[in-house]
């Protein structure tokens, strides 16, 4: 397995982790939900989830783009 695959795998794993974590967290947050509503903050968890997903998504995008360019150039140099 080469470096790029490992990096991509890691990022995908973490993204997956984040998704499940957030879904679970969403479940367990039922309890303080009433409190939050009292603060008039709407449903902030979705915003948190989206923010975290965007952050990891953009990093993912960069990693993949570097990886792709690297393997392309390594192929050219190898040949």
């Amino acid at each position: 397995m080469n470096r790029n695959q490992i990096l991509c795998g890691l990022v995908t794993g973490i993204t997956f982790l984040v998704c499940t974590i957030t879904l679970f967290a969403q479940e367990t947050s039922e309890l303080p939900g009433a409190q939050l509503a009292a603060q008039g903050l709407g449903r902030p968890y979705w915003h948190v989830f989206i923010a975290y997903a965007i952050a990891i998504g953009i990093v993912f995008f960069w990693v993949v783009s570097i990886g792709r360019r690297l393997s392309e150039i390594e192929k050219k140099i190898g040949s």
């Binding site: 470096r3 490992i6 990096l7 890691l10 990022v11 794993g13 973490i14 982790l17 984040v18 974590i21 957030t22 967290a25 947050s29 303080p32 409190q35 939050l36 603060q39 903050l41 709407g42 902030p44 968890y45 915003h47 948190v48 989206i50 923010a51 975290y52 965007i54 952050a55 990891i56 953009i58 990093v59 995008f61 960069w62 990693v63 570097i66 360019r69 690297l70 150039i73 390594e74 050219k76 140099i77």
Partner: protein
């Protein structure tokens, strides 16, 4: 240091950074306690602030390398500058997308002319110019020089932009900003924030090295094709 070693170091750092980031994600969802006034939304802060810090670090490095490139004319400095600038764009984009999501909850609107948010947006555009200039000349060396000029002017312009956007704010008072980084940041929140700062920095450094070795390989390829054609 040879390109191979840099590539290896970059891969290692990037992997450490990614795993570390995973730990930070876990911490900020399960471990850290919820902030009282802002509730759960405040957790966005653990990606927003480190992203801002990393993008400033990256843009600063890009300007520094650009200045040194104009002075010493070493191609490696230009490669480092463009790698750092790309990282800066990536993390500034994270900062600019997570900021409004937080703002929607904390302030009620997606966009406010919050000084640091505005500054980052303008920086983002300055470095957009950096990349446009770089790629739009016939003579690549000229593009590199022009881009370096953009980066330097941008860096030295930042204090002025910063002061002016703050001043503008004082002129038109906006809704009260709840400052989450107030002096009374509880211990576990501080730990999470510091962990996150570390994760983002290491991740950036690793990817920066990877990006840098990419530029190295590219120029190696260029040299090779040049020798082949002569």
């Amino acid at each position: 240091m040879s390109t191979k070693k840099i590539l290896l170091a970059g891969t290692m750092l990037a992997m450490i950074g990614l795993v570390w980031l995973g730990v930070v994600y876990w911490m900020s969802f399960f471990w850290v306690s919820t902030e009282v006034t802002q509730g759960i939304a405040q957790r966005i802060f653990y990606v927003h602030v480190p992203a801002a810090w990393t993008s400033f670090l990256a843009f600063g490095l890009a300007a520094l390398f650009s200045g040194m490139y104009l002075w010493l004319r070493d191609e490696r400095l230009d490669r480092a500058a463009v790698s750092a600038a790309e990282g800066g764009m990536v993390f500034a984009t994270i900062m600019l997308t997570t900021g409004p999501l937080w703002g929607k909850i904390a302030w009620g609107t997606y966009w406010t002319w919050e000084p640091r948010l505005t500054l980052t947006l303008l920086l983002w555009f300055i470095f957009l110019g950096y990349f446009l200039v770089r790629s739009s000349t016939e003579n690549p060396e000229k593009g590199k020089r022009h881009a370096a000029v953009v980066a330097i002017v941008g860096a030295l312009d930042i204090p002025f932009i910063h002061l002016s956007v703050i001043w503008f704010r004082s002129l038109h008072p906006a809704p009260v900003v709840i400052k989450p980084e107030g002096p009374t940041l509880p211990g576990d929140m501080l730990t999470t924030l510091l962990m996150s700062l570390g994760a983002f920095t290491v991740l950036f450094l690793g990817l920066f090295l990877l990006r840098y070795s990419l530029e190295n390989l590219r120029s190696e390829l260029d040299t090779r094709s040049r020798h082949a054609s002569v």
